[in-house]
Each structure stands twice: as structure tokens, then as C-alpha cells.
Amino acid sequence: MDPVVDLPHVSSGTDRDMPDPAASTPVAPEQFVLAVSSLTTLSACGGGSGGGSSATPSPIAPEPSPEPSPPTTTQAARFLQQAAFSSSEADAANVQALGYAAWLEREFAKPISQSNWEWLYAHGYADLSFINSSAGASNVIWQRLITADDVLRQRVTLALSEIFVVGFQGVTSIPYRPFVMAAWWDLLCEHAFGNYRTLLEAVTLSAAMGRYLNTSGNQKEDPARGRQPDENYAREVLQLFSIGLYELNPDGTTKLGDNGQPIETYTQDTVTQLARVFTGWSIPVPKPVTDPSFARLPMTLNAAQHSTLEARFLGATVPAGTDGRTALGIALDTIFKHPNVGPFIGRQMIQRLVTSNPSPAYVARVAAAFDDNGQGIRGDLRALVRAVLLDEEARSDAWSANPGFGKLREPMLRFLQWARNFRASSTDGAWGISDLSDPGSRLGQQPLNSPSVFNFFRPGYVPPNTGIAAQGLVAPEFQLVHETSVAGYMNFMQTVVASGTGKVVADYSPELAIADDAQALVQRMNLLLCAGAMSTATQSTLRDALATISTSTETGRKNRVHAAVFMTLCCPDYLIQK
């Protein structure tokens, strides 16, 4: 079939191509608005506080008019690559027919796809022989991300799993670990379109987080033995899951105090006192364990182990003697009401879905939607998702044309895009994709397997010795980019494209059907993988090279298709999601 290719906004000239390798300033300074809040704190308050970017791209003039409707095919594809994992012609046509906003509403309304929990059960992993096994953990998450129909929910859940991080390797000393992680993913899915406050409580009391950040088994102070409550969750819930280290303006920039310095949101004393709230909880693991059902129950409270000392934090007070559930409610309500949450979470959701360096105004619009969904409700995650994906900065070609706009596609998103675009299926139904974490021979990334609670990369990461650093921009995903991982990714994908992995193989029928036409093949790659962002130079290099592979045999046709897919997946034009 002939794909509908419509590339009106792809430059016909060379503005995406720079022949001079020695050029050291790839971005003209006037193309950026330098919104520098404080140069002296530029490095010291990177995005870890959620408000780090000091320089943000502005749209390339002229100021765009409101988005015309309906979107073009490439605009629809680009939207899908932000909101989902892939962009088939049919999916793009749907977006064109519905419009962006209605497509989102349709996704919000979709039933949740088969849970990871059910899949593990259906595939026999609940058998007692698996009680101490990690088998199935990788299979289940990959099959869900590759096959689930509720694509927006899965994409948002993946983004949430990189903010509320639980890493599989850190969930230890507990039976049925794959079920603990399955329940965790299912929990994030369940609340992805709900309210942040509900999500925060579910996260706090989940078995996975309870085990990962040690709330489970956390005991109250014992002055006689000098024992103190464990501070791990109290610290990270503030630093990573809600408010960050420094007070933020509503647009995500760091607030400065009278002394010109950032203002800390909390101190060590805050953590010490808040830690009291998270004592007394434990995962209800039965003795003996006969099945994994405990793994999706919220933690339970043992009043005897709960600290009843007064706890003061963030302007709130839990009075001495307060019961554990009431104390938890006070704590989570207090965190939820903190004005940082909207810009802190909102900016990171923009980074995961759209661009590494959103303008402060974009962050402010998203934060405003978090603060009030239009009906007076705070924390509505649907409103947040709408605000992130429908914003002019996310949608307009004028913004994306800026050379600093966009983000490096995470390795796991590239793999998912390959799998979904090319209809990957598991020949034996087992989805035996193993852990792909090794950067030297695989992706260097695996869903739900971050090496620490600080995710695979930090929102404020600045790749040293780069033009990105020179522009004062952040590039979180570049924390995974180095001489080993760039090579390992390509070698892995070369095998995957041709032969699949773990008996998960692609179906290239539509591509094989147009294999004789190298130009058509390139256009299809540009649409499916790059959403039209492939430069004209890359297109011609690719087309000319592919044309030299003879398609007179079946093997030749396959080789040409494999080469087209693989070479595109390696191109920097593709690797950067615009």
C-alpha cells in the first residue's frame, strides 16, 4: 500500500543540515530567549528541583496562528509519538479525523487493558515454584507496552514510573517479586488518569514502594536503644515525588530569597519529623505464602509500631498521639497542597512526553491545569495530560522547528516504537524479551528497572562538554548516552530488526510490499519513525544507499527493508523526538 505522505513543514533546504563539522555554535543565540533567573545558581539548581532550565527555546518567528484543523498526517504522527508509542497510518488517520482533544478523550474513556497481574497469572507464574523467581517480570511489562490498546494510559504510566520510581533490582527479600512489580504497574495505570492525591496515597501504601523505600517494617523511635525511624521514604517523597528541594515559581523556575539564593522547601529536621508518619506500616505477607495475593494489597498499620510523637513539617502539625491513618492523611494532604507540586510534576511530564526544555510559560500553563482543572479540582491528572499534549508549544510546528526543541528518545521508547510500528508478535506467546539493561549489548534501559530511585536520568542532567551545556539547556536522556551505549544500541537493534529478540519478531508485510521503491520506503520510515523530521539530506543518503540493494529476490527485499528500518533507527534525525 502507498502511505499517505504529507510533509509540508519539512524544510526543503538545508536548514536541518549543517555541512560544517567544525561549527561550534549550532544554534544562533537570537533564536533563544534566555530566561536566566540567576546565572550564579545555574549549575547548582538544575532540574532536580524541577525548575532548573535557565534557557528555553522560543518559537521561530513569526508567531504562529492558532492550530488549523484538522492536523496533517505528519502532525498527527508527531502527536502520537508524544502521546503513544507509535504512529501507524490508521492511528494517524484517527487523530486527523477526531482532532487531538477528542482523541485524548477517547483514550481517557477506554477500559484499562489486561493487567500485568492477570497476564502473569494466566501464564502460570503464580505457581509456588515461582515464589523466589524473577521469571516473567520482563516478559509481562514488554508485552503490555507492546500490545496494550490503551496507549495513552500506558505512555503516561511509563512517564509516571520514571517519577515515582521503583526499580526491580531494589525490590528484594520479598516473595513473588514479579507480582509485586506487576501490581505496581497496574496501580500506576489505575491512577494515571485519576487524581494525584489518590495516586500519592496508593504509591505510599503499595507493597512495591513499601519494600523499595523501606516503609514496610519501619518502626517508631526507641530512645532506650537509640533507634530512629527510617527516613528514606520521608525524604524521597518530598524530593522526588512531589515538591523537590527548592521553592518554585508557578512557571517552574526557582524562587529566590532576599539574599538571591534559592529557598529550601525542607530541612533535615522536616525529614526526621515526617519520617514518624511513615512508621508502623508493613506489607501483609502471610505465613506461609501460598500465592501472590498479598502483593497487591495496601500496607497495613500496626499501631504499636507507629510513632505517636508530635511531627511538624511544611507548616503542618501532626499532634502527639494521632493515630497512624490520620497522621498519613495529614501528611499527604500537606504535601499535596504545596504550591510546588504542579510545576514540579508538570515540568517532568512535559519532559517525558514532549521536550526537555519547556518554556516557563508552558510549565505555568500545565501547572495551572494541575492546580485547577477548570472545575475547582486540584490534582486532576487528565487535566495535566491535556495541558501537556494540547499546548501550543507541544503542537505548533513553529515551536518544534527550533533547533533546541524536543528530546532524545529514550532507548526503551525506540524499541517500543519498532515493536509497535512493525507489528511485533511473540511467536510462542511467551514474550520472552529479557532484561535489556546492559548498555554494551542491549538497550541500556529496561522499564521498571531503574538503577535507583533517581530514575535512569535526572530531569536536570546537563551533558558536559556539549553545545547543549553551552546553551544552558538540560538533556535528561543524555545521561544514558556514551561511547559504549551508542554502539551497544545499534548492535542490538541490528539483530532485533532482522531477527527479533526472544521470539518476538516483526511483520514487515507493508514495507516489503513497497520495497521495490526505495523512495517510498524512505518516506514511510520518515512518517512512521520520524513523524516527518527526517532531513532531506538524510532522506537522499538513505534512498540512494537502499536503492543499491537488489530486490530481485525475497532475501534482497528483506535486506532492503531491514536496512531501511535499521538505518533510520540509528539516525540522529530519528533519535531526537521533535
Binding site: D15, M18, P19, A23, P26, S43, A44, C45, G46, G48, G52, T172, S173, N214, G217, N218, Q219, R225, G226, R227, Q228, D230, E231, Q239, Q268, T272, P403, P439, V453, R458, Y461, P464, N465, L473, A475, F478, Q479, L480, V481, E483, T484, V486, A487, M490, N491, Q494, T538, T541, L542, D544, A545, T548, I549, N559, A563, M567, C570, P572, D573, I576
Partner: protein
């Protein structure tokens, strides 16, 4: 960054050195002769102007109190009294006690965790030292000053990612230069290939980024070749060439351009590393199941290939994770420490084998120390910590710095037994920088706050 190709001179030097090592390497049994050989080879190679610094970063914040444990009865009693439920037994420490060559004033004696016994011969030979209570500081800080916030303090204390960054760079998350990289800036001119000045066998670490020096990352199996550009691609030589063009071509797109630069560096360096490592054989055994050991093995291999790579001054980083033990400290920490000791010992032996023991100094670093107080079965984020320094040039069998009072609410405690550092990371770093050949006047370029501290060299190397 441009990579210069190795000169014929460097190749010839490499071949000469390999031949020399080959002769001595034939003597057996290797292990028994190791120490003697090391000294002999070092003497032979006295014209070998080479120095390497190796940072062993323990991710998560190492629990210093269960790594270097008070062993003399008075101090052990204080330790055990505070660490109910997470203390090691005094009896278990007998074989790893570290008697200093000159006794400490208050009789303090530390012991390595029992699992670190592999390092005892290095201590006993005087090539392992302990630095007490080191951590990030802006200026010398007293407890009263800390409590009153009357002096500038490092930002974001007790936060993992930021303290990792501050230990490595002096700045919090988002920093773009570390002190290893800044040393590299000053030292790279002596290297034939600047790209091999700062090398990480762990992941990306700001420690190794300088103003001009970029970190080079290597896997434990060496440099990874890109198959698609080294063999015909799906049967096509034209596609093979086109792929090379596509993945390395500059772009007006900011992020795409940077990705292509990393790829270009990967390709260029891989060719040289493969050539260099091809001539290297190490007899020293490294445990393949120990990821830190495997990282240190590739560092040792690169050191062995130094002539081929044109390297005279190098800074390396290796890392091991899992130290954030809020829970299961007694169950998990010993295993981790065992890996650290096993890896460090193998690395030390490899430097002896290569005849470079006195030219290579390794040290530990970590996010922060941890609380002395127990939270039941673990400890929480702290600040100052004890660390190990190892190498043939190290003035070992000694403790450096000030021993903290082992007490909660004591004079060194900022809360729950979190140590207020009495030696700054700037001093720790400046000591290594001085050893690497950086002049006193250039030290502020490496550690901007060094002017606030004295002495600038702690004397352990």
C-alpha cells in the same frame, strides 16, 4: 574533540615495553613472585613517566561505621552502644584490625569489615591508608557554625544525587565539571590522545568532565565496535558506508548534533582501544562475577596499553551501587564490602604485575557517610565519612585526619550521628592533584575552595 592517531614512536615504545614484560612474565609461579616482580619492573620502568588516579565510587552512601569499625575496647564499646541491632561483633574483627604504624593519641584502632580481609596484605605492606571523616565543605566549619548557619554550607546536604555531584564536582545536580576532569584539563597536554585522559568504566559521571576534557566511557569488555559500519550491512557495502555517514554527520539540530559527536568519538576511540588492548595480557585474576572487579580489570588493561594509547596522565572512575542500606544493613553490606575489597586487591596486584604500583593511586568516595544511629536494621543519610586510599606511592598503614567522637549528640554530630566533616573533599582532591603533578598555584583550578583549607596536601600520597 579530535583524536590524534597514535604515533609510530608510541607504538614502538609499547612493543618494547611489552617485550620486557613478556620476559619477566614468564617466571613462575606468578603469584608468589608478584610483589618482587612489581618492584623490579617498576625500577626498570623508571623512565616510564606515567601516573593514574582511580576513583572507586560507592553509589548510595557507604556506611563508614560498618566499613572501618572501632576495634579497641573503649571505642568499640561506644560504637556497639549506639548501633543496637546493626553492630558487627568485636570478635569478628580480629583478623582485619588495622594497627596504625604509630598509635593514635586516644588509642583508637579501626578494623576493616571482616569481609575486606583481602586488603590486609596491602595494609601490612604499607600501601593502604585510611582518611578519617572527609566530606564536602565550603569553609572549615564548627558544629556551632553549622547549627547557626553562620558559614556557607554545601547545598542539598543528605540528598543522594546532589551529594554525588558535590563530591565529584563541588556543585549539585546539573554540574558540568568534576575535579577528575579539571585535573585532566591541566594534564591532558602530556597525553598523545586527549580522549584517553579521563575514562569511566562505570556510567556517565560528572567527576570526569572537564572544561575541555570529555569523559570517555568504556565497557568491561573493552570498547564496543559498531557492527553495522565494520561489516557489510545486510549484505550491502554501500549501506555500510551510508550508515557511517548518517550516524556521524553534523546537524543543525542541537541534540542530534551532540549525539552524533558521541558516536564519532565512540568509533574513533574504539579502533585505538582495540589495537591497544590486543597486546595486553594480565595474569592477575579478576572475579568475573564481581562487576567492580571487572571494571577495575579493564582499567588495568588500559593502563597496560598506556603507551599504545599515548597516555601519561590518566584519571579513571569505576563504581558499585547498592550502598543505600536503610534496611538489611547487616545482611547486604558485608557482601558489597567483600566485592570492594576483592576488586581493589586484584587491581593492586595487577598494578604490581604491570610494574606500575607506585604510579597508580586508587581511592574510595561515596555520596555521603551515614548516621551512626540505627533505624532498626539500617542507617540513614549522613555527611562525613571515612575512606580508603591505596597504591604503591601511598604512605599507608596510617590514619589521616581527625578521628570523630563516636557519640550521638557529640561534638562531631549534626544529628543522629551524622558526621560534620573535619577534612574537606577539596583537601582530599588536592592531595591527589598534587601527586599527579599539578602545581600548588593551579590547585584552585581543580578545587575552587581549596584556598579556605590548610593543609592542601594531607600527606597520604
Amino acid at each position: 574533540m579530535n583524536i590524534k592517531h597514535t604515533t609510530d614512536m608510541a607504538r614502538r615504545a609499547f612493543l618494547r615495553r611489552s617485550a620486557a614484560l613478556g620476559i619477566t612474565g614468564a617466571i613462575a609461579p606468578w603469584a608468589m613472585q608478584l610483589s618482587m616482580l612489581g618492584e623490579a619492573a617498576a625500577a626498570q620502568a623508571s623512565g616510564d613517566d606515567y601516573k593514574a588516579l582511580v576513583c572507586i565510587f560507592l553509589n548510595g552512601g557507604n556506611d563508614y561505621a560498618n566499613t572501618l569499625i572501632p576495634y579497641d575496647s573503649a571505642h568499640y564499646g561506644q560504637y556497639a552502644g549506639i548501633r543496637a541491632g546493626i553492630a558487627r561483633s568485636q570478635e569478628s574483627l580480629a583478623a582485619t584490625a588495622l594497627p596504625p604504624s604509630s598509635p593514635m593519641a586516644d588509642g583508637l584502632q579501626l578494623a576493616l569489615a571482616p569481609e575486606m580481609a583481602a586488603l590486609m596484605p596491602v595494609w601490612n605492606n604499607g600501601h593502604l591508608a585510611v582518611q578519617l571523616n572527609v566530606g564536602p565543605l565550603i569553609v572549615p566549619t564548627t558544629l556551632a557554625q553549622y547549627k547557626a548557619r553562620s558559614v556557607p554550607l554545601p547545598p542539598k546536604l543528605f540528598s543522594h544525587n546532589d551529594q554525588v555531584s558535590i563530591w565529584q564536582s563541588g556543585l549539585g545536580e546539573g554540574a558540568t565539571q568534576g575535579w577528575g576532569g579539571r585535573m585532566g584539563d591541566l594534564l591532558m597536554s602530556s597525553n598523545g590522545n586527549s580522549v584517553f585522559t579521563c575514562i569511566s568504566a562505570g556510567g556517565n559521571a560528572v567527576f570526569l568532565a572537564g572544561d575541555t576534557v570529555a569523559q570517555y566511557q568504556i565497557s568491561t569488555s573493552g570498547a564496543i565496535a559498531i557492527n553495522g559500519i565494520n561489516k557489510t550491512l545486510f549484505g550491502s557495502a554501500v549501506c555500510q558506508n551510508a550508515l557511517r555517514t548518517l550516524i556521524t554527520q553534523p546537524s543543525a539540530e542541537l541534540f542530534a548534533n551532540e549525539y552524533a559527536r558521541v558516536t564519532q568519538r565512540s568509533i574513533d576511540a574504539q579502533a585505538m582501544v582495540s589495537t591497544g588492548l590486543a597486546g595486553v595480557t594480565l595474569q592477575t585474576q579478576f572475579n568475573t562475577q564481581n562487576s567492580l572487579a571487572m571494571q577495575l580489570k579493564v582499567v588495568a588493561q588500559l593502563i597496560a596499553a598506556r603507551a599504545s594509547l599515548g597516555a601519561k596522565r590518566q584519571v579513571f572512575l569505576v563504581s558499585l551501587g547498592g550502598f543505600d542500606l536503610h534496611d538489611n544493613l547487616l545482611a547486604n553490606h558485608p557482601t558489597l564490602l567483600g566485592r570492594v575489597a576483592e576488586a581493589m586487591r586484584a587491581f593492586y596486584d595487577a598494578t604490581l604485575e604491570l610494574g606500575v604500583a607506585s604510579q597508580v593511586t586508587a581511592f574510595t568516595a561515596s555520596d555521603f557517610g551515614r548516621t551512626l544511629s540505627s533505624n532498626g536494621d539500617g542507617s540513614d543519610h549522613g555527611w562525613g565519612s571515612h575512606h580508603l586510599v591505596m597504591g604503591g606511592a601511598v604512605q599507608g598503614q596510617r590514619y589521616y585526619g581527625l578521628a570523630p567522637t563516636i557519640a550521638v549528640n557529640g561534638p562531631d554530630d549534626v544529628g543522629q550521628g551524622r558526621l560534620l566533616p573535619t577534612t574537606s573533599v577539596d583537601q582530599y582532591a588536592a592531595t591527589f592533584a598534587t601527586w599527579m603533578g599539578i602545581s600548588p598555584s593551579a590547585l584552585p583550578l581543580v578545587m575552587p575552595n581549596i584556598g579556605h583549607f590548610a593543609p592542601t596536601s594531607l600527606g597520604f600520597v
